[in-house]
Symmetry: D2
Subunit: 344 residues, 4 copies
């Protein structure tokens, strides 16, 4: 049975699994990234972004974001993020831990997006040593509420960041979905727009485990390999982390996976829009739909075995589509909602 | 080509890979360990050890050891380990990082082993607040030089530890090799001997990625799940970390893999022992052989493409055998050594 | 010229200075607290609180609060505080640093006070491992806006804390002012009400430097001396930190100093209340008055050399009275405000 | 009664106390260093060193050294120090704590001194990411065994440090004693020799509390004020930390105090040298004498009330002289030793 709780409920996509199996067939391989695969995958990512960036692989998103952010600030600095940012709400203090105590300064913003004004307000609020000095702006692309920053929005944020001497980090747990949604080259919403570091999510896109940390500003990556090692993020059998990325990168499987997930969210939203008593909360631009369902409907769906999360601090439901979500699943789910709504 | 650089040069053993693939076939599964596999594997490990322990999965050995140790002490405490302990020599300060600054106090000891006397000496050396207070003894089983603590040795260390109010941690990156070597029940060299926490290595035994942290003293595991999450060690698609353990645990594949690797080390040692100019440095009791080779021999071997590490701070070579090391490889390697030694 | 910017603008009160000078007359004294003074002062504090508590001296409030809090939680836990709490707004991430990343969860509350309901709301908001688990409630007494928790309010908060397995910490930078205001025995608003740890402020009460950390629950103080040493808070010439406390404790100088400061704030508030265009923002119960002054008035006062802070995030002014604030100063200051207000 | 346990058994020297009292007479003063004294004292220190350095005041030596070192490296870096360095043996893991886990790599060296060769050996021992990368060399001047690095020795160490891209830190808890001993300008053994950061000790030189951290390379001091604040090392009533320095700096009291302490150590060494059964262990160049006394003599001295420390890991005794040590005390102490030695 498929669910809409999270895109990490999905398994490994066939191409990634095939690459993993193929990597296993080569017998003995040097460890810690000196194998036949890892540097090749790094090069592929450099090609993809059309720039000479530094690429590192880590095990998950907590580590990717926390370590990337820790490399951009010291413990007495602060990070500016949206109040719904995953690093604020769902990492159990990971960024604070890896940075040794950096504070997250949260800003409100419609559609889950930071704005230049919100950043400016935070940066200018305090200028004394009794409050941690802002050093980083971090954006989630696509956002935690399924929206997407436009190229212009990112550029505007990066512009204010540069003016205020802040580094720009992008939490790209669902970066592929944003690229698919905007239909732009990946460079357009990253380094060409002013992003310094990207955490490029692989797990939700079809990998078993693993994310890539990409430093477009290579000076920020100095000794980052040591940081990873110390932080328990250096895989010994690295090829099993890196090779599956080949499965995603070859033939643009990563984009195809993302497009499919986005299309399923679109389908979900369209079908929900037509149901009396259901309200879609944000314009779905990636692979998430947030919808207010009548409480008895949400309850009945769960009783039937459907899994999905409550949206923090609201009555809404978060419905995530994955690379393998079937149209039939969306149809069945929305049919059941329609029936349940009609029943009262 | 096979190598003797490390047992992590080997790939995934067939049974683990099969379990991973099977776990993928189940479609959508709850994340973060609430899947069909993870709790089952934990139960299997509890059965294996014949006790109601707490089991957690992490991505690698750095994290397993560092986080387990961090849960046993505070930043102003210290850990007692052998001067050749992996946590001291090869973790880039991981234990210090995760504990927030705990100091490793190293002791010498023949065959890479700590002794009750060495521990006693360290514990009683200082008793003032200007030096971090010892709280943990950590053993590596099998050791970094391929030897194995006997049941009695572990018991004796645990006894002095209890008397001095120290917790006992075991770095079991090659725990399977020790069990295979001693031919005892795993409980005999862990909780029945007084070990509080075991890091049970899976990667070197045939997994793609992942180790288990096993708390025999369950009170020490309170909130450890939060610690893992914050530290970037909670896999979202957990089944791909846990399920492969089934491949190892079913039919005692883990023991078979370890026995094979040990046997290959035995073969290596026997063949080396008969070569003039070669000296085996430690009695090989697990899957490692340390041997002094004439410098020109080591150089010639490397020139032929063989990979193996220098033993830190000595002229010796470390030769590791893996679950998949072929007898033919050992024979070819030692034949080449014999020929090279004879050539001068 | 006296100011109202902070009670830490005041110097050392005569009794504290006399004790410091006397401590210097004894020539050589053992260091790190083994002198003739330190244990005696600890005993005096135990007498004062009528209980066998553990007492430690640190250099300042940042350290007192941060280290006390760090001893109550781990990095993956969280602390509940008021949104105006000093530890949140003015410690530059000190609590996050010393705890290794604990998150501060802030609650609103009128008069700068936490309430049982606000605590309950935060504790019950999340129960998953993706969010740091609450372990501590921290109160500031007197509060950051010059109000005071009543005995009943503290008891009610401690009751909910105990039910939710939270420890209770009190930031008592101005504890003396609270005791003076409530006219109760110090034990009544600390351990008898359920407080586990108190940071008893000395600096603002008339010391040159130094605060006391008092653990009423002695089990929480295990190895705290090591924590202080490691954290750079163990004075070598400890007598110069501890002895001045004698000056405060003998003849209840600490209470007299606090009462005087409170009385000056009372005088300030009464005089301000009668001025058209001035609004006192909170009922002044300790040594602070917050008042909204017409902008041109605040500006004119500063032009004349008066120093005082803006209240964060508001148009109000914070006016602090110290142990040495003269009635004449209050009168002159308020007369000038009256004149400035009348001039338009 | 005077003792030889530590130079921190001495009190406040008259000039420092007078400055503290005078600073108190000025009534209200801005806090956190914006007072009438602090910037002036910083300027005096700049004058003293004849260079435009950045100066910060902290409460003690643990904090001075730990925070200075933390500003020179990240958690995955390492620091090279002598095996007898105070930061290694007597700070309870302070440097590890404040840096978030940096490892201290210790080197042996006669007379308690690091050498270029020892540094080179450590730097070149490892070049892989499994071991923390060396970033700092730290010297103690005068050393923990009462010797002094010559100008040439410091220059040679700084030269190898620069070649290996290491920063140079000097633990100057007894810097004044070294300057007095060498009879050179303070700049000659600091920035002119290649030292980047000096922790200039005030406490042992006659202050009640406080050390200065001096960055000769000002780029290393960026945001250091934030670091201090977060770390609990920013005094609110800063004048009482800074003003006493004036007492030391005016009329070169700091040098006079150091010269006196050194002379007393000289006297001690001379008198001990003539006693049968006593062996002076190191050439006394500052204010410490290390001497092997017959065990019964040391015991008898302690029974008479004399306090002094055992030298870690040896049968020697550490005898420290302070700014106020009387020649009579040295004479009486050595007379008693002579008598005790003769008695057997």
């Amino acid at each position: 049975m498929q669910h809409f709780a999270s895109d990490n409920y999905a398994g490994i996509c066939p191409e990634a699994l095939a690459a993993l199996i193929e990597a296993n067939n080569s017998g003995h391989e040097p460890a810690y990234g000196d194998d036949s695969w890892t540097q090749g995958v790094c090069d592929r990512i450099r090609d993809l972004f059309q720039t000479d960036c530094e690429v590192f692989f880590v095990f998950n998103g907590t580590a990717a974001n926390s370590l990337a952010l820790a490399s951009l600030c010291q413990s007495y600095h602060s990070l500016i993020c949206h109040e719904l940012a995953h690093i604020e709400t769902d990492e159990c203090g990971g960024p604070e831990f890896f940075s040794g105590g950096s504070k997250l300064l949260t800003a409100p913003g419609i559609d889950g997006k930071l704005t230049p004004d919100a950043i400016e307000t935070i940066v200018t609020r305090r200028a004394d040593i009794h409050y941690p000095k802002p050093k980083v702006v971090t954006l989630t692309q696509s956002t935690e509420v399924g929206t997407v920053y436009s190229v212009e929005e990112i550029r505007a944020i990066a512009a204010i960041a540069k003016r205020r001497h802040l580094k720009v980090h992008m939490d790209g747990a669902r970066f592929a979905n944003a690229v698919a949604s905007l239909n732009v080259h990946p460079s357009e919403i990253t380094w060409r727009a002013g992003v310094d570091v990207l955490c490029f999510g692989g797990t939700k896109n079809g990998l078993p485990v693993g994310e890539a940390v990409i430093f477009f500003d290579k000076t920020l990556a100095v000794d980052f390999a040591y940081r990873l090692k110390q932080a328990g993020q250096l895989a010994s059998k690295m090829r099993f982390i890196s090779a599956p990325w080949l499965g995603l990168l070859n033939n643009d499987v990563w984009l195809r996976n993302a497009k499919h997930a986005n299309a399923m969210a679109q389908l979900m939203a369209e079908r929900l829009a037509g149901i009396d008593g259901v309200k879609v909360m944000f314009k779905p631009q990636a692979n998430a739909v947030f919808a207010e369902l009548p409480p008895h409907v949400a309850q009945a769906l769960r009783a039937k075995g459907w899994k999905f999360y409550q949206f923090i601090g609201s009555g809404g439901c978060r419905l995530m589509c994955a690379w393998d979500t079937l149209a039939e699943t969306v149809e069945q789910f929305t049919d059941e909602i329609r029936a349940l709504c009609a029943a009262r």
